[in-house]
Symmetry: C2
Subunit: 497 residues, 2 copies
C-alpha cells in the first residue's frame, strides 16, 4: 500500500500509466501540471505518446490539445511532440523537438502571457478541459492534493477538468508539504498579499474527488538542465546589473535592505545571484516565477530572507539538495499558483526590479523575446511580460552578440516585439547599462548603441544617420533598411556586412 | 473677494497670470493639471508662452520640461509648442502644433503608459518638479484643493512640486465638489476598490499650503472638440462590437447586467455607446479614463449605473450640461487620480472589456497605436496599454482603411508596436470581428485578413503565401516585403500597388 495515497477511495483508483492513458482520446483537451522542468507528469506523457504512435500506425488520427503551467521536459513535451501527439499547445514551451514541430508548421502554439493563461483557463476562454493530469507529492485522507515541485496552472486546470488523473511521485520529498500556498484569484476581490512572504491560502489543492479517474504511481526525477559554468561575459553583465542596483541606491530609489527581485533563468541570472552574495544587499526578497540554484545559495548565506515563486528550476544537484532539505527550505520558500505569482496586482505592489533575457533589443528599446529573425519561435514570452510591465524598474540583460558575433543583440528594428518601448526601462549588456527611463526615442538610441558590441556600433550609427534624413524624426526609421540586419543574417548567416 | 478661495492665507497669494509666470524659469520642470482637454490650466500656459517669446526675442534661452496627466488643448500645449517653450514633454499629448514640433525633432517627447507616469513621478524617476500649476474649482478653508473636471496626475505632481501655482477657474461648476475621489497609491498596500463605484478617499487634494506661491483667477471653458456625426462605417463597427458582446453572453462569459466598459475616445466609441442605448445590456458600468457624451446619455437613460474615470472628454455642449447638472451627475460619476483609474490592479479586478482605436494591426494581431509608418507619432499610447493588458477581453476597433482607402488598417507587419500579439485579443472593423484568443499566429492571420478591406485582402493573402515559403512558419514573414505596404505609402501616397 502506497502511504502517499491516504484517501481510501482513491487507493482503488490506482492504475498503470498505460491503463490511465486509455482514458485520454483523440481530440481531447488535456491539462498537465508542470512548470520549467518541474512537477510535470512523469508517466502519462510517454504512455499517451505510445498510444498516439499506435493509433498513427493503424492509420488513425490521434492528437490532443495540451495546456500546462509553462515548459516541461524531454520526457513530457519532448516525447509527445516526437510522437505527433499534440495538435495545439499553450501557454509556453521550451523543448527542442516541440520547437521544431511548431516552426515546421505541424503543431499549433499559442504563446500567452502566463498571467493571462491562468485567467483565460479559469474564465473559460478555452472551454472545458477533458482531462487533467497532475503530479503530486501525496494525496491526503480528504483527497486533497499536495503539490510537488511546482504549482503553475494546476488549480485552474483541475477546477476546469471533467476528469482527473493524479500522478503520485515518490521521488518528490514529502517535506515539500507546507511550501505551497494555494489561493484562487476571484473577480472583485483584492489578493491579500502585502509582503513577499505572506501566506494567504491552503497547503493543498482541494478537488472534486469524484472527478478522479485514475491514480498513477511514479518515482522519477524532475529533469532540469545543469547550468554551464559562469563565463567572463556573464560575469561582466552581472557586474553591470549590480552597478545598476547601486545606482538606484545612490538615487534614493532603493535601499540595501529593500531589493525585491524577479529573475529569468540562465547563466546571467546565475552570475547576478553569485554577485549578490558578495554585495551590500541584505534581506533580499524574490517575488518571481521559479526558484533557482542561486536563490538557495543566497538563502544559505542569510542574504535572501524569502523567495516566492510558482515552481523550481533547479539543477539536478540542487534538486537533490532540495529533496533532502525541503523541511528547511520551506521556511524561506513559497510556491504559489502562477495566477498569483504572476499577477500584475501583486507584482506592482511588491516594487520589484525585474530582470529578463532577450533575443534582441532595437535602438529605441523594443524587445524581442521570442522569435529569431521574426519567424522562428524559441520558447515564448512566459511571464516576462507580467513582470516587465509591472516592475518598478524593468531590465533586460543579454550578451551583446550571439553565435560567435554573427548575431547582434542590438538591431535597428526588432524583428518581433514582445515588450514595447513603453515597457523596457533598462538594457544591460557586457558593455554597460542603457537606462532609458524618461527619455525620448532619439535620446534612447544613443544609449542603446553604446551597449551594442563595438563591431556593430558603426552600423547602428549609420542606420540612425540615414533614418534622421527622413521627414519625421521622433522615432527615426529608414523602412527600406530597418530589417537589413535580419535579412543579411538570413542570406549570409551573419548580421555583419 | 473670490468666494472660491476660502483659505485666508491663499487669498493674499492672488496674482495675475503674468506675475505668476515670472516664477517659472528656463530649465524648470513643470507639472500641469490636465487630461484630455479638461482641467488644464487656462491662464499660465499663455503667460509662460509669452515669457518664452520675449526671452527668445532677447536672444535668451527659455524652455521648460512639461509633465501632465495626458493631452491638454490648443490654449495649453498648443500655445507653448508654438512658442518653442517646451524642451521635453511627457506622458501624452494630442496637439497638432506640438505633434509637428515633436516629429520635426525640436521637442523631445516620452510616450509613457499613463499608469507608469504616475508611479514614475511619485517614485522620483523624473526627480523633483520645480513648479506645479493646477486648475481647481475652489480652495477650501483648510487650503485643500477641489479638483475641477479631472484629476490626472495632479496628486503626484503636487506632492513632488517645490512650488505650487493654483488656478481657480470660475467656469467650472462648484457642484463638481464631491465627484473626485482622491487616494494615494502606496507600496505594499492593496487598493481597496472592489466595485467600480467604490469611493476610497477624500473629495479634495491635501497639499502643503506653504508651497503655494501664487493663486490665479480664471474663467475659461475646457476646450474639447465636438464630435462629428456618426457615419455609416462607425455605425457598422459599433454594431460589430455589440455583436461581440452578444457572443460573450452566448458563450457564458458575460451577463446582460455585467458589462463593465473601458472605452477610448472618438466617433466609433460614440457609436458604440449609442448602440448600447438600444441594447439588452443593463446596469452598465464604466471603469475607464474619460467620461464621454455617450456615457451621460447612458446614465440619463438609466442604462449606466456608474462611471469611474480620471477626467472628462465632453463636447462643448455636453460640458455645458455637466456644468449645469454636476450635482446630479456626481451621483453616478467618480473622478480618480489616473494612478487609480489606470492601475492594473483595479483594472484586472473589474473584469472589464477594453475597447481602443488603433492606427494599424498586423496579420498576427500586433497593434500600432502611435506612429504612422513607424516614424510619425500621432498622440501616444496613453492608457490603452494599461487597459488592454488587464482587460478580461481586449478589443481594438477601427475602420479598415484611412485616407480614402490609401491606408489599410491591416498590414503584413506593424511599423511600430504598442500592443503585442500577446495583448490584442479581438480586432473589429466594419467588416467583422477577428477573435484571436487561443489561436496560433497562422490561425490568427486568416481571421485578421477577413476583417481587412476587400481591396487589401488579396495583397495580404499574397504576403502570407510568400511568407509560408520560408523555413519557419510559426510566425510566417517575408522580411524583404514585410514593410512593403508602408514603403509604398511613403513613395506613392497609397498602400495600394
Amino acid at each position: 500500500m502506497n502511504e502517499r495515497i491516504s484517501h481510501v477511495g482513491l487507493r482503488d483508483k490506482v492504475r498503470t500509466a498505460e491503463e490511465a492513458a486509455e482514458l485520454i482520446h483523440h481530440g481531447d483537451v488535456v491539462g498537465f501540471s508542470g512548470f520549467t522542468g518541474a512537477a510535470y507528469p512523469k508517466a502519462l506523457p510517454t504512455a499517451i505518446a505510445e498510444r498516439a504512435k499506435a493509433a498513427h500506425a493503424r492509420g488513425d488520427d490521434f492528437a490532443i490539445d495540451l495546456y500546462t503551467g509553462a515548459s516541461t521536459a524531454p520526457d513530457c513535451d519532448g516525447v509527445l511532440a516526437e510522437a505527433d501527439a499534440i495538435r495545439f499547445r499553450m501557454p509556453y514551451q521550451s523543448d527542442p523537438t516541440m520547437r521544431s514541430k511548431i516552426n515546421g508548421g505541424s503543431l499549433l502554439y499559442a504563446d500567452v502571457h502566463l498571467s493571462h493563461s491562468a485567467r483565460q483557463i479559469a474564465t473559460g476562454v478555452y472551454g472545458d478541459i477533458d482531462v487533467a493530469v497532475v503530479e503530486v507529492t501525496r494525496i491526503t485522507e480528504d483527497g486533497h492534493l499536495i503539490p510537488s515541485s511546482g504549482v503553475g496552472n494546476n488549480v485552474e486546470i483541475l477546477d476546469k477538468a471533467k476528469k482527473i488523473i493524479v500522478e503520485v511521485n515518490a521521488w518528490q520529498s514529502l517535506e515539500l508539504e507546507g511550501m505551497a500556498d494555494i489561493y484562487r484569484v476571484r473577480s472583485k476581490v483584492p489578493i491579500p498579499i502585502t509582503d513577499t512572504g505572506d501566506r494567504i491560502g491552503a497547503t493543498y489543492i482541494d478537488i472534486d474527488v469524484n472527478k478522479v479517474v485514475a491514480v498513477v504511481e511514479t518515482d522519477a526525477p524532475d529533469r532540469n538542465s545543469p547550468f554551464t559554468p559562469i563565463d567572463e561575459c556573464s560575469q561582466q553583465i552581472a557586474s553591470n546589473f549590480l552597478g545598476f542596483l547601486e545606482g538606484e541606491v545612490e538615487a534614493g530609489r532603493l535601499a540595501y535592505d529593500q531589493f525585491c527581485m524577479q529573475s529569468g533563468v540562465g547563466n546571467v541570472p546565475n552570475a547576478v545571484m553569485a554577485g549578490l552574495l558578495d554585495s551590500k544587499f541584505e534581506n533580499i526578497k524574490a517575488y518571481t516565477e521559479v526558484i533557482q540554484d542561486g536563490m538557495l545559495d543566497l538563502i544559505d548565506a542569510g542574504k535572501m530572507t524569502v523567495a516566492s515563486a510558482t515552481s523550481f528550476s533547479l539543477s539536478p544537484d540542487a534538486a537533490e539538495v532540495m529533496n533532502e532539505k525541503a523541511a528547511h527550505y520551506r521556511k524561506y520558500i513559497i510556491t504559489r499558483p502562477l495566477h498569483v505569482s504572476n499577477h500584475p496586482e501583486v507584482i506592482r505592489r511588491m516594487d520589484l526590479i525585474s530582470s529578463n533575457g532577450m533575443i534582441e533589443a532595437d535602438i529605441y528599446g523594443n524587445i524581442n523575446s521570442t522569435n529569431v529573425t521574426g519567424t522562428r519561435v524559441m520558447n515564448g514570452i512566459g511571464g516576462s511580460g507580467d513582470f516587465t510591465r509591472n516592475a518598478i524598474a524593468s531590465t533586460f540583460i543579454s550578451p551583446s552578440t550571439a553565435k560567435g558575433g554573427a548575431i547582434s543583440a542590438i538591431v535597428p528594428f526588432a524583428s518581433h516585439i514582445d515588450h514595447t518601448e513603453h515597457d523596457a526601462m533598462v538594457i544591460i549588456t557586457e558593455y554597460g547599462i542603457a537606462d532609458l527611463r524618461g527619455l525620448a526615442p532619439a535620446e534612447r538610441a544613443k544609449r542603446v548603441i553604446k551597449v551594442a558590441h563595438p563591431e556593430y556600433r558603426p552600423l547602428l550609427e549609420e542606420y540612425v544617420e540615414r533614418a534622421l534624413k527622413g521627414k519625421n524624426v521622433h522615432t527615426p526609421h529608414d523602412l527600406s533598411t530597418a530589417l537589413s540586419f535580419h535579412q543579411r543574417f538570413e542570406e549570409t548567416g551573419s548580421m555583419k556586412p
